[in-house]
Every structure is written in structure tokens, then in C-alpha cells.
Amino acid sequence: MEALKGVSLEIQEGDIVAVLGANGAGKTTLLKVISGLVPIKSGVVRLMGQDLSKYPPHQLASQGITHVPEGRRVFATLTVEENLNIGTWGVRNKLSERQIQETKEWIFTLFPILKQRRKQLAGTLSGGEQQMLAIGRGLIAKPKILLLDEPSLGLAPILVQEIFRVIKKIHEEEKVSILLVEQNARKALAIANYGYILETGKIAIHGPAAELRENEHVKAAYLGGARLQTR
């Protein structure tokens, strides 16, 4: 089975790039290809010109790519702090103890609730808090690119708001490049610089986010519900 075909995608340093599409369009597969979890038949993934295929998946974090998977996937019987520490495993020989502590403090300022609950088991957190933890766990490795898979999935509207606000903040404060896969097209295009629309494994449309917001097809297929709401 081919989930993706002829997909070509580029992220400029320091950009937020949104990948939008319906369920089953191949968004998650695309991220798994980048982080090496799904093998590709042909094609190449490059980071700053360097072919990543020579690295096994567990070495990609040390190359500067971290992947915050769909469904959060926090380690439920590890504490919040252990979850964050595990995020440093791939880069434990590259970052100093001090750098890790500083990043951790920064993550705690982004998500103060994590600091409050750092001794608690991750499985006891609410869905929104688990998402914050999953993002923090990805950030602590100080990635060049952060892959975010459906960070707003299944969250209450107020939390969706909060998550997107923090994603924007992460981008502004640390200049991390972000590849954001989302179903919430409106919110994603609001913070992204550039967007790709995936339809059944192919890129249907791509362009700067501002253009996509005005594109008739995108409006009808992905932003339609939102327009009804505003009336």
C-alpha cells in the first residue's frame, strides 16, 4: 500500500509549515517517514542538505529532529519529570547538564502546570496537560525541527487556543522550525508561514499561508465550517 506518492515538501529555517488534510490523507505517514519510523520506497529526506536515510530512527533526535506523535503518547507510568528527562536521551552526549536545566526551566515557563505536577505520573494528567508534556518532551532535546502531529486533537476549544498560542510562542522565542500537521486548518494557517494540503497521499495545493487562506478550494473544503460559524 502506498500512503504517499510524489510528495515534495520543503521547510525554510525558522518557518512554521502546516500540513493540512482530512483523515487518511497521509499526514501522519509523512511525519513518520521524516522520523524514520516508516521506510520509503524511493525518495530522500534531507536536513540542511544532509541525507537522513543513513541514520536509524533512534539517532534522528541527535540530528536535530524531534517528533511529537499523534495521540500524545506520554509514558503513563513515568512521572512528568521522567518523561521530560527521557526526551534528552537522544542528545545526552551533545547537551550539557546546564543546557538541559535551562531548557527545562523554559519549558516550565511555557507550561507552568508541568512544573506543579512534575512528581505526578504522566497517566494522571488531563488530555491537555499530556499534550503540553508531549510538546515539552520534544522541545527539551533543543531540536532544529519540531514535528507536531495533531497537537489539538481531542482537546476542548479553550485548550486548543492555548496550545496554538504556545506553539507560536515557541517559534518566536527559540526560532525552532516547526512542521505542524493539523486537521484544524483555520488555526494552523493562522500561525503558519506556509501550507501544504494533502489529499489522498498527494499534495493538492501549496503556498504561503496567507494565500491559502484566500484560496477558493481551501476555503470551501477546509475552512468552510469556520465561515458558517462567523455568520
Binding site: P57, H58, L78, I86, T88, W89, T124
Partner: protein, 304 residues
């Protein structure tokens, strides 16, 4: 009172064997979701390796290193041998069938178990062997009152409990331990964190069998008689201990092992020696019915 204390020390001793073997079961199960049926035979093989080291050149090791020095050599030799043996079994019996699913893996584990126990029989023969009396410290000391304890039993307890504490510390308190637990919970996400699954496998398949080997040598030193089939009984009871503590849970395996040893010894001393195995497996059945996740069980239910 005297009987109670004696049975308590006996129970602690045998319980520490169960606990050491149970930890190996639990580690492998946690990471690979495989019940490693060959694990009881690692215990036997460890015991035979210790025996082989002590009888080589009719007690050369004991003559050279002294009574306790010889025991240290036998223990370290057996543990090292089984760390290598465990990795070898993983390589030839498990790795080729990982992708085939869990059932072929279990069948392969049973095969490995039969292979090892028959291999031991082929090398050392089908009859009981005895650890040489000249290599076992025979001293005893008075615990208090009329309760005596052999030196070797005390050493067994101290070494076993220390090692358990060490493993507990590594698994529960260090970043490496967190990586092992994370891998057990969710292998794919652990990979995304940069954890190499192979190095975790390396850890569980060397440390687990080495702990089994330690228990095996201590069993030989305490009870002297060893036979190639003994891993079956110890393995099953250690497995019961694993279930008691909650499979995949390493502190649970330690507590389960000690508890099972104590219960078994108390039952043997005060009720009936002949029925003790019936009692032990009755406990297993009751736990499986009442609390299948074990006495310690899962720490939290996962929120979705």
C-alpha cells in the same frame, strides 16, 4: 517460636532465589512482552556453571582463592557465563522470530528451554550432582536464643538483597532505568526519544540471566544437590512470584518472590510439607482470578 524464626529465614532465602529469577522474567516480559520459558533453565545452567568452576581440577579454585574467594569466582563466572548465554539465546532463538508474532516466540522460548536443559543433561549427566562439601563454608552462628543460621545463608541473603536494591535503583531512579521503562511502555515513542531498542534488549537479556545464575549458584551452595530439571520448578515458582507482583513490574517481582518464599516456608513448617506446591499454585490461581494485574499491579490506569 524457634520453628517460626527458622522458617522465616528459610523462607527469606528461598524467596530471594524466586525474586532474583522473577526479576529476569519481569524484565524480559516488560520490554518484549515475551514470557521467557528458558529463564528457569538459565537458573539451572548458572548452578551447573558454578558447580563446574568449583569442581575443576578437584577444587583448584577453592585451593587457590580460599573458601570464600572460590565462591566469589564461582558466582562471577556463572553470572558472566549466563550474561553471554542469555544474549546468545536471544540472538539464535528469539531475534529471528520477532517479526512472526508472539506465539512463534513463545514456542521458540519453549524450544530454547528444552535445548538448554537437555544440553545440561548431556554434559553433566541425568543424575543429581552435589556441590563439593570442601568448597562450601560450613560455619553457623547463633542468631539468638536457640536459633542458628548457616554463614552461607546469611551471605546469600545479604548478596541477593543488595543486588536487588541495586537493580531497583538502576531501574527506578536513573535515566537509563527510565529509558528501559519507557521502552516497555511504548517502543515506537521510545525510539523517537532516541532510545535504541537493541541496547535495552542487550540489558534485559544479559542482566536477567545473570541474576538467575546468581540464584542458581546460591541454591547449589545452600542445598548442595542440583539436577538438570530443577529449573522447571524454580522457574514456575518464580513465574508465580512475577504474577504476584504484577508482570513487567520489577519491584513487584522482588516483593512477589520474597513473599512467595515466606508463604511457602511457613506453610511447609506449620501445615504440610507435602502440600506446599499445591498451596503455592493455589495462590497463583487465586491471584489470577482476583487480581490479574498482580498485588502491586499497574500504577495508573491510562487516561485516553
Amino acid at each position: 517460636m524457634q520453628l517460626l524464626l527458622e522458617q522465616l529465614t528459610n523462607g527469606l532465602t528461598i524467596g530471594s532465589f524466586y525474586a532474583l529469577v522473577a526479576m529476569g522474567y519481569s524484565m524480559v516480559y516488560g520490554v518484549m512482552k515475551l514470557i521467557n520459558f528458558a529463564h528457569g533453565d538459565f537458573f539451572t545452567l548458572g548452578s551447573y556453571l558454578g558447580y563446574a568452576i568449583l569442581v575443576i581440577g578437584s577444587g583448584w579454585v577453592t585451593r587457590t582463592f580460599g573458601l570464600w574467594g572460590g565462591i566469589v569466582v564461582a558466582i562471577l563466572g556463572a553470572m558472566l557465563g549466563l550474561a553471554i548465554g542469555g544474549l546468545l539465546v536471544e540472538r539464535v532463538a528469539y531475534r529471528p522470530v520477532y517479526k512472526a508474532g508472539r506465539l512463534p516466540l513463545v514456542v521458540s522460548a519453549l524450544g530454547a528451554s528444552i535445548f538448554i536443559s537437555n544440553g545440561i543433561m548431556a554434559v553433566w549427566g541425568p543424575r543429581f550432582q552435589a556441590y563439593p562439601q570442601t568448597s562450601i563454608p560450613s560455619g553457623t552462628f547463633r542468631l539468638f536464643g536457640e536459633v542458628y543460621m548457616t554463614d552461607i545463608k546469611l551471605v546469600t541473603l545479604i548478596v541477593s538483597l543488595t543486588l536487588m536494591a541495586l537493580i531497583y535503583y538502576v531501574v527506578e531512579k536513573t535515566l537509563f532505568g527510565a529509558a528501559v521503562r519507557a521502552t516497555a511502555l511504548d517502543r515506537e515513542t521510545a525510539t523517537l526519544m532516541g532510545i535504541n531498542f537493541r541496547s535495552i534488549i542487550l540489558f534485559v537479556f544479559s542482566v536477567g540471566p545473570a541474576l538467575g545464575a546468581l540464584a542458581g549458584v546460591f541454591a547449589g551452595l545452600n542445598y548442595s544437590r542440583i539436577i538438570f530439571t530443577m529449573g522447571w520448578g524454580y522457574g514456575l515458582k518464580a513465574f508465580t512470584a512475577t504474577i504476584m507482583g504484577g508482570i513487567g513490574n520489577i519491584p513487584g517481582a522482588m516483593i512477589g518472590g520474597i513473599l512467595l518464599g515466606l508463604l511457602e516456608s511457613l506453610f511447609e513448617g506449620f501445615v504440610s510439607g507435602a502440600w506446599k506446591n499445591v498451596f503455592v499454585f493455589l495462590i497463583l490461581i487465586i491471584i489470577l482470578i482476583v487480581r490479574p494485574t498482580g498485588l502491586i499491579g499497574e500504577k495508573v490506569a491510562e487516561k485516553v
